[in-house]
Symmetry: C2
Subunit: 238 residues, 2 copies
Amino acid sequence: MSEHIVTRYDDELKDVQRRIAEMGGMAERLVDLSVRALTRLDTTMANSVIADDRRLDQVQRECEELAIMIIARRQPMALDLREVIGAMRISNDLERIGDLAKNIAKRVLALDGQFQSKRFITGVEHMAELSLAQLKDVLDAYAARDVNQAFEVWRRDADIDSMYTSLFRELLTYMMEDPRNITLCTHLLFCAKNIERIGDHATNIAETVHYVVTGEALTQDRPKQDESSVTSVSYETR
Amino acid sequence: MSEHIVTRYDDELKDVQRRIAEMGGMAERLVDLSVRALTRLDTTMANSVIADDRRLDQVQRECEELAIMIIARRQPMALDLREVIGAMRISNDLERIGDLAKNIAKRVLALDGQFQSKRFITGVEHMAELSLAQLKDVLDAYAARDVNQAFEVWRRDADIDSMYTSLFRELLTYMMEDPRNITLCTHLLFCAKNIERIGDHATNIAETVHYVVTGEALTQDRPKQDESSVTSVSYETR
């Protein structure tokens, strides 16, 4: 392979990485904005999240097309192939994170004008901080190709899951206390679920970093699952 | 390219298609089983969905690896490349549909022993029938590479979305009527959301069929969005 061709291949790979970095920054920003829009019930901010998510979708498609072209034309092997496949997977997760932020933003529009109590929102806000920290950390781990940092993110996902499970119970309790809380708390439950899913995508990215660097899948079972789906709050026995 | 190589390439492509067909059948079965488990609150059936979803995940990974190997080794162009990319995308959507069926099954475990009224379930069951029909139709459209049939699926997704929006309102109303309904109806809301997402993935597959056959994206905006996220039910004014 001539040096000329090698250089162009490196350029193409760098181009993909640049887009991933761009998408990572956008995804972080959308998550942050969507949660701030929720805690302040700021519909202007929510609308900007919905609009900006389209750009993230577009970069994801470009990134995927580029990656496929690299595989077809350059036939990368081993680490190089894993880099390209990893980029495709991560761009996919970041795009989904953008969708989840958009879903939160859309619920802000539903809640416009609803009675709002700070105590309902606190738990969601706290979960969002944790998910956002996970996202930042895993993007750092990817940038540094740091398997240990990626593993730490992967391990910590259990914290978000257990926080979600207790928040699920808490919001159900508020609904039972006063039916006027039902609409708000239902939307907050869906927001919390979206935030929990953002954490899952950070975990996916951690697994991808592990695969890119080591060539092996993180085969251990995930530390813990969200248990809210097997959670009941009984009205009678509270 | 020798005939020998051409034949092997065709065999590889057929191998990918076979796996997609297998995944399609599994996804349909998991959705069907999960909804039947829900309507009967049958935990044995629910547990079998959870177990079988692992197999779907495994076939998806195999399918993705095969597709990447084909791109790297065969450098397919034009329609052939679209076939391989299409297979990767569809296997991804089918794997996600399996996850959503698994989520429904996990909620059945949560609802075990809960008071159950048939009227709460009917709406979810009806939505599930529609989503399952969409999934069957889009898999047929893919098998026949039938763009018109794919477009029909794509167009009909609006029906599921509007059904979901009215079901969302209905379930909120049941919660407000009697707080003892809250836990059950919350789980049903998440089930309904999962079913609505299954419809979205059928729509994604329809878009992929269009892309594979025509080489162009279905660029029209999707017919309608789920509007439940902007839905409120006011307790005071019912």
